[in-house]
Each structure stands twice: as C-alpha cells, then as structure tokens.
C-alpha cells in the first residue's frame, strides 16, 4: 500500500491512505521522511520466510522434545 505523508503533528506523521482516510503513524517509523513523501508499505515475503526458518531452527535447538 502506498500512503502519503500529509503533515507532522507532535509525535506523529499524519498519513493519507488511498481512500483518503487519515491515520496517525508514529514518526519513528519514517525517520527521514518529509511532508508529501510517499511511503510504500508492503510485505517482504522472502525476509518473512527467512526469519521464520531461523526462528524455527532456534526453537528446535532450545526445546527438549
């Protein structure tokens, strides 16, 4: 999803969703962003499966049965 930063207020970036709904997004999520910037929010499938595997490996090591 692509969202647009409308403005910054206090600790939040106020972003516009594609349907013009406005949502507060913590500023820390978009550290270098400026007003008008478009933020791409997407699922990183390869990173997800990589991480899933790593954690699974760790679980198998830590569990006794």
């Amino acid at each position: 999803m692509k969202v647009v930063i409308d403005r910054f207020e206090g600790k939040y970036a106020v972003v516009e969703l594609p349907d013009r709904t406005m949502v507060n997004m913590p500023k820390v999520l978009v550290p270098d962003a400026r007003e008008g910037d478009i933020i791409l929010i997407s699922i990183d499938a390869s990173e997800t499966s990589k991480r899933k595997e790593n954690i699974k490996k760790l679980v198998d090591e830590v569990w006794e049965n």
Binding site: V4, D6, R7, E9, V14, R20, T21, M22
Partner: protein, 499 residues
C-alpha cells in the same frame, strides 16, 4: 530580615519570568537575573566587607582585577567582565526580535505598562504600531481610520481597490465550526460570505449541512489557508456543492489525494485559483475590510508557514485568522509592521507551540482567542504553554473542544460570543465518516441555541448580571446562563437577570 531577603529573592525571579513571558525575552532569563545575579551580588558584598574588617581598613572600591597597576591584569579583567556582561545580554535577548530595541523603555515604564497594555486592547482607534505604545504611553490617541487606509495603500502592491469603509450596516457573524482537530471558519458579512478552510476529509457532511442549514447558496470568497488535510479536507465537497466566487490558496502543492481532489473540483467547475499572499485584498462587500498579511515569502520549509493570514475589520471590531502560520511567518508579519491588532485571534496551528510567539501575540493584543481543536487529540493541542501565554496577556480563551461551534456576532462596535452552538465533536483525524444526519444536527443546534441565554459575570464577584448592570463597570465577561449557574454564580439582586 532573612525572610524578607528570601521573599525579595523569589519575587525577583518570578517577576523576571513573568516579564520575559509577556515581552518575548528568553524565559531562562529569570534564572540569570533572579538567581545568579543576586547570588553574585551577595558574594561580592561578602568578600568586600570581610576584607574591610580583617585586612584592609581602607578597602579599594575598584572591582577585583582592576586593583593591580599591571596592564595585562587589567586587560584580562576587562575582557572577562565584558564576556560576562555579553553572555547575560545574549541570553536575555536571544528571543526578543523587534522588542530588543524597546526593552529599555519598557523597563522604564514598569509602573505604567499594565495600564498601557490595557489601552492597547481597548483602544480600537489607535492604529500606530503597538510598540510605540510603550515608548510613548502618554501619546494622545486620535481616530486614525483614514490614516490606516493610507498605510495599507502603501503596503499593498495589488491594484485591487480597497472597499470603502463606511458605517457598518447590519451584523457580521463569524462561525468557528467545530470540525474536531481541524479548521473551518464561516464569515457571514451583511452581503457576502467567506469560508476559511473546510475541516478534515471526514467532515464534509457536517460542513455541508451546516452551510445549507444557514440557507447559504453562494460562497463569495473561499480560502484554503494551506494544503494540509485538516484545512482543505472537505474543500472539494464545498466547491462541488455551492456557487463559488473566488478561490484563494497559497501557491504550494503537496502530494495527497486530498489536495488533488480539491484541484480537480476547481478545474471541473471552471474556476481559477488566486494566489494567497500578503497584500491581497478580499472583497466582502461594503463596510467589510479583509486583507491578507501572509505569506510574505515564496519559499518555506514547512507547509504551515505558507498559511494565508487574514485580517477582517468590520466597523471598530477586527478578527485575525492565522491558519497554521508558525513563528517564521509571524516574525515576517511583525517585521513588516502590519496593523495586526485585533479583538479576536484565531490561535495559529490549533494552539501548538509552533505558533503564537510572544512578540506576535503582543502585536495582535487580542481580547478574545478562539482555538479550533479536537477533544482529546493525540498531538497535545493546545499546548499548556500557549494557554499560559494567552492567560498572561489577559486574553479570554474559547475552545471548540470545550464549546463546540462558536458563533461570534458583531455589529461593528460590540462583540458577542455564542458558544455551545453545537454538540462537541470528538478528536480527529477520525476514520469514521460523520454518522449524524443533517436533520438531527439541525434540530440539536436549534434547540441548543434556543436554550442559550447569555448573562455576564465579573472577575471577582459571585453574582451574575444582565447586560448593562452597574456592577459590570469594571469587568464584564459573557457566560451562558447554564454555565453561570453550574459554576455557582447567583443572580444579582439589582439588575434581575434571567434565572
């Protein structure tokens, strides 16, 4: 003796803090003047007298460092003393802006300035830049409305002729519509209508029904102060639904769909946008003067700074609508010596600390302040620093999160506030569209308005009065009857106010 010394010590610190708040000096000045200086004075006195008693029966009155005849010692000492004084001055005046020059005269008129400050607020015919008020507090005041027009002619580069100010006929109403954490201000002049900003995206139903409820068909002047969603959110719906005379916006674009939709609506209607900038005069019909004081530059870092700032003058009463203009724009306006003085100030940026700097507030010297803000918003608006600052200046504050829609009526001489003209809207940005239907809203508004009876209270008294009561000679604050009762006020026995 010690107690008195301590008292003086604390009073000095507080007084310095108070003055710095009021005149825009650095607030940390109170630490320097209130604590460091007396302490230093005490240390020097202590050393001086001890020396006198123990070692030297005839002490040198020269400060340390100048007692030696060696030139290098004297040079080092003078450098150090100089550095010390410069540091204090730097700390004291970092934030003062224009006021720096006036500081000495302000201090010299300490006894007068409380009343002088009152004069600024009360005397509407006084059109000199407010700083002069302090340098010459006794300067005779004369009605200067024509002179004011002259000054404006010099300032404005636009060739649009000024509407002739005549005696105001009829009433002018300013509606600060409660759109939560956003701005939407409707001005009903006797013959024309202006809308400044149009709330959030989710406010379109609310705004449209509010305007239709007032039987408005045409908006002669439509202003989008700056392209943030909490100011232009429903501008597209307004353009689609009403006849529009002229559209004013600062020439700055942003990438939101909200803004794009506003532009598309303008295009679809075959309208053209006039750039909002300082010097632009808005036509609101005879007897109403509306001019822009900002933006004064073409380029700013923040979109808020592009905010169109509008001063509206009707008869002897005036309003200043500041959008979200922040300190940089405020500084430009005070530097340009516009006549910023106004009875009612729409507080900039929902009461955030980014706006309403002391220098600017002093230039405006409002009697009333309206803060357009959402209840329980997550941005900390309005900031307590701004509320304190307004209180320090003796400004009466109205907030849409406490009162709902606020309607101000003026006949050109008097200003009357009708708060609680609507139920209070919750915090924004809300994802939910307005669920309240137009009919429900209308009914509620009418009922509320019927119920509202305004009575008046004084600063210190415990009774409420009807308008014109002799007890109101010193102070006179309008309040709704229900509020007065709820706050424990009882009816005055002399003027027999409504019960």
């Amino acid at each position: 003796m010690n107690v008195i010394a301590l008292l003086i010590y604390f009073i000095l610190a507080y007084a310095t803090y108070y003055r710095s708040q009021k005149y825009g000096a650095n607030p940390y000045l109170w630490i320097v003047i209130g604590i460091l200086l007396p302490y230093l004075g005490y240390m020097i006195a202590f050393l001086h007298f001890r020396k006198k008693e123990i070692t030297n029966p005839k002490p040198s009155m020269l400060p340390l460092g100048f007692r030696s005849k060696k030139p290098w010692k004297i040079i080092i000492a003078s450098l150090l003393y100089g550095l010390f004084i410069i540091t204090i001055c730097a700390v004291a005046f970092t934030n003062t802006g224009d006021i720096t020059n006036q500081k000495p005269s302000v201090v010299s008129s300490i006894e007068n300035d409380a009343s002088a400050a009152d004069d600024i607020i009360i005397d509407k015919s006084q059109d000199n830049p407010q700083d002069e008020e302090f340098t010459e507090p006794t300067k005779p005041t004369e009605p200067t409305r024509p002179a004011n027009t002259k000054i404006l002619d010099e300032v404005e580069k636009e060739i649009i002729p000024l509407p002739q100010s005549e005696q105001p006929k009829g009433e002018l109403k300013v509606h600060f519509i409660d759109v939560g954490q956003a701005d939407c201000i409707l001005i009903q002049a006797p013959n024309k209508t202006m809308l400044i900003d149009a709330g959030n995206n989710a406010d379109s139903n609310l705004i449209l029904s509010y305007l239709k409820n007032l039987k408005i068909n045409k908006i002669d002047v439509l202003v989008g102060t700056h392209p943030h969603e909490d100011h232009i959110g429903s501008l597209d719906s307004v353009i689609d639904s009403f006849d529009i005379g002229a559209v004013y916006m600062p020439k700055i674009s942003t990438n939101t769909k909200t803004f794009e939709d506003v532009l598309l609506s303008i295009q679809k209607k075959g309208l053209k946008v006039t750039t909002a900038k300082a010097g632009v005069v808005l036509d609101l019909g005879e007897g109403v003067k509306a001019e822009m004081f900002a933006p004064n530059s073409d380029k700013y870092e923040e979109i808020n700074e592009y905010s169109a700032v509008i001063k509206l003058t009707y008869g002897e009463t005036s309003f200043l609508f500041t959008g979200d203009a922040e300190t940089i724009s405020e500084k430009e306006m005070t530097a340009k010596k516009y006549n910023l003085k106004a009875d009612v100030l729409k507080v900039g940026h929902h009461g955030s600390t980014s706006s309403t700097s002391p220098v600017f507030l002093k230039a405006v010297s409002p009697k009333y302040a309206v803060i357009s803000v959402g209840k329980d918003n997550q941005y900390g608006h309005p900031d307590s620093i701004i509320i304190n600052r307004l209180n320090t200046f003796g400004v009466q504050i109205y907030r849409t999160d406490e009162s709902g829609t606020i309607i101000v009526t003026t006949d050109g001489k008097n200003i009357a506030f009708d708060k609680k003209a609507s139920p209070i809207k919750q915090q924004a940005p809300p994802a939910e569209p307005e669920k309240q239907t137009a009919n429900e809203q209308t009914k509620e508004q009418k009922e509320e308005q019927k119920k509202e009876v305004t009575v008046y209270i004084t600063k210190t008294g415990t009774k409420y009065h009807s308008a014109g009561c002799q007890h109101l000679s010193k102070s006179c604050n309008p309040i709704s009857l229900s509020d007065a009762k709820a706050s424990g006020y009882t009816p005055c026995s002399k003027c027999n106010p409504p019960r």
